[in-house]
């Protein structure tokens, strides 16, 4: 005990120092370390989440790019297909139209030919009749005599044809 006293050891002071340290330990544990660790953990979680999000976003972006390319490709082939289809349809329709027009033109031509022929015949007939009448008149005038209807017709026919 004498040696301890020489080194300045006093149990009252020793207890006081230990109590002081214990109080600091408890206070710091409750009011400093626990909230601090919580805050640090929260931040770590946040950073990890941010990094994971960024990675996910990158992955998703590349996926979307691939999808976009596929969709574009599909759209392009579709567009090509539609274009060729329309082209073919248009060609087919054109051909049909041309054929019909040709047919109609032919028909019209044929009809007009027929009509012309008929008209000609009609005109010829009329001309013949008129000529006959004119000749009859002239003959009547020349002959100064009237023939009866049968004689007249017989006469005309004999002279005209």
């Amino acid at each position: 005990m004498e040696a301890l006293a020489n080194l300045g050891i006093d149990w009252k002071l020793l207890v006081a120092q230990v109590v002081n340290f214990a109080v600091v330990l408890l206070v710091l544990k409750r009011f400093a370390y626990q909230p601090m660790l919580k805050l640090l953990d929260e931040r770590t979680a946040k950073i990890e989440k941010g990094l994971a999000d960024a990675e996910n976003a990158g992955k998703k972006l590349s996926e979307i790019e691939i999808q976009e390319k596929a969709i574009l490709m599909e759209a392009r082939t579709e567009a090509k297909r539609i274009l060729t289809e329309t082209d073919e349809a248009a060609k087919k329709r054109d051909a049909a139209q041309i054929a019909e027009t040709e047919k109609r033109v032919k028909k019209i031509l044929h009809e007009s030919e027929l009509k012309i022929a008929e008209d000609q015949k009609k005109m010829l007939d009329e001309a013949k009749r008129e000529l006959g009448e004119t000749v009859l008149l002239a003959v009547e005038k020349v002959l100064h005599e009237k023939m009866d209807a049968t004689k007249e017709k017989e006469f005309i026919e004999r002279h005209v044809n």
Binding site: L13, N20, M36
Partner: protein
């Protein structure tokens, strides 16, 4: 120049003689609590200034503990104890280095009748009451942790080994040695810290009396370094002993 191994008494508080070392111990506690509270109330998600320093300490100590204990849960459980030991010893070591150490104090007449002063500043670590008290506290904590982790029988197996098994008498002797070393820890913890810090203070005082200017500067830097090292050594040893206490005996 007067060098006293014991901390000097400043005044009596009831039956408790308040020494300069105890005074500084309380001051260190108040500073630690205030600083941590200030940091916490101004906590920002993007650290700045003092918060950075504290985060580095917290992260560093936690990482070190995890590497020593190989167990995240255990490291988190003992983090408050280790961090407080480290911060408390570090701050009390460094506070003893402040200029004016030993020059501001109460007027006093020593036994021979010379007028001297009792300084207000004396590092808490340069008082055996603190170092011995802390080492007792720590060693008791270590024993309790070991008993809680392994059970009384499991923990006792570390020290009491039957002489009739594999290593025979050697194992028993080793057990006794282990038991003695548990008690030796109290003294080694206490005197290592006390010796280093007290010697540093004496060294600085002596150098100041020999050559007042510039020459003591390297020693001041040395003592700053020693103050850090001793705080780290104390904290690390506690961590290592805690880990050893929770590891079952290998027989």
């Amino acid at each position: 120049m007067e060098i006293s191994i014991a901390a000097e008494k400043l005044f009596m508080l009831g039956v408790l003689p308040v020494t300069n070392a105890l005074f500084i111990g309380v001051l260190v506690s108040v500073i630690l609590v205030l600083v941590t509270q200030i940091i916490l109330t101004r906590w920002q998600s993007v650290p700045r200034g003092l918060q950075n320093v504290f985060e580095i300490i917290v992260d560093g100590v936690l990482g070190l503990l995890e590497s020593i204990m190989q167990d995240r849960g255990m490291a988190r459980k003992f983090f408050p104890l280790i961090a407080t030991i480290f911060l408390f010893i570090l701050l009390s070591n460094w506070i003893g280095l402040l200029p004016g150490l030993g020059t501001v104090g109460l007027a006093h007449e020593n036994a021979a009748g010379h007028a001297t002063i009792i300084p207000f500043l004396r590092s808490t670590s340069a008082d055996l009451n603190f170092t011995l008290g802390l080492s007792l506290f720590v060693v008791i904590t270590i024993q309790l942790t070991g008993i809680l982790a392994l059970g009384i029988r499991g923990y006792a197996k570390k020290f009491f080994v039957s002489p009739f098994h594999k290593p025979y008498v050697v194992g028993t002797l080793m057990g006794v040695l282990e038991l003695v070393s548990e008690f030796a820890k109290i003294l080694s913890f206490a005197f290592r810290l006390f010796g280093n810090v007290f010697a540093g203070e004496i060294l600085l005082t002596v150098m100041l009396h020999l050559v007042p200017y510039f020459i003591p500067l390297p020693f001041l830097f040395l003592e700053i370094f020693v103050g850090f090292i001793q705080a780290a050594v104390f904290a690390m040893l506690v961590a290592v002993f805690l880990k050893m206490a929770t590891t079952p005996a290998e027989h």
